[in-house]
Amino acid sequence: MKFSKLDPLLHSELRLAIMSLLISVEEANFNYLLDQTGATRGNVSVQLQKLKQAGYIEIQKEFRNNYPLTTARITKEGQDAFELYVKSLQSYLKAGA
């Protein structure tokens, strides 16, 4: 039985949670990701940068009512990587069934 290699970037719990949130919406802002993941501001910020560097997400920074607003959305590359990751997980689960 051949197993697909799991993407190490998505194998982290917080990065996977962020990608799972972004896959089901058009875009989400930083505070939404903070609330939904329950992680610290610093940790979410670092993981977003890593996902951005990999080309999995796009980040837009702007000001709304004089406050900075960071918005993230998943890219096509990110969607493909997420789908591949889920398929790889399934291959492990099926093997044990």
Binding site: L21, A28, V86, A95, G96
Partner: protein
């Protein structure tokens, strides 16, 4: 191997939980359904009371009054929601286009009626038909059965409306609003408050 399987299961559970939780936080709360539903219901029954008790050619006046009120209330809710909104969804974009297209068709039919290309008794069954269509599609998008059922029943009411006179059509329009808006809107609102 067993360790990898456990790890894969844990990651899989994480994805499922996160997607499920996020869906709960962004689902429509039924506020708009109740606002527009109640406004249209008051307009339909107001018009019906006018037709039955003191007939006037301005029996339709209840519609612009109540729909303008609903527009103002929706606008205020929309501004508040936008301030709190931290996520944009494909669902919201779709539903906005669907109901705004319904609004345009509604206005076009009214224009045709007031310019006497269509009679009131031809227009109202069409309103009911389009209500059913938009409600059915919205229910499918939300995967909310009461809206889907409400949409289907509304189509049957529309067919019945084609065979009745105008006074009865107005009552049927009110009935279709209770079935396709008020009841599903209330259930959606209750579901949201129970889940969050």
């Amino acid at each position: 191997m067993e360790k990898m399987k456990h790890e894969a299961q844990a990651q899989f559970d994480l994805i499922t939980t996160v997607i499920h939780e996020s869906r709960k936080s962004i689902v429509d709360h039924g506020k708009y359904w109740l606002t527009w539903g109640l406004a249209s219901l008051f307009a339909a029954f107001g018009q019906s009371i006018m037709l039955y008790t003191f007939p006037t050619r301005y029996h339709w006046i209840t519609w612009p009054i109540f729909l303008t009120l609903a527009g103002i209330v929706s606008f205020i809710i929309g501004i508040r929601d936008d301030e709190k909104s931290r996520v944009k969804t494909y669902y919201l974009r779709f539903i906005t286009y669907l109901w705004s297209s319904f609004g345009f068709v509604f206005l076009l039919l009214l224009t045709l009626t007031f310019t006497q290309k269509l009679a009131f008794n031809q227009t109202y069954p069409l309103f009911i038909l389009f209500y059913g269509l938009a409600t059915y599609i919205s229910g499918g998008m939300l995967r909310f059965r009461p809206l889907i059922i409400g949409g289907v029943i509304t189509w049957f009411i529309a067919i019945a409306a084609f065979y009745t006179d105008f006074k009865v059509q107005v009552l049927l329009l009110g009935l279709s609003l209770i079935i396709s808006y008020i009841i599903p809107g209330y259930l959606l609102y209750k579901k949201y408050n129970r889940e969050v």
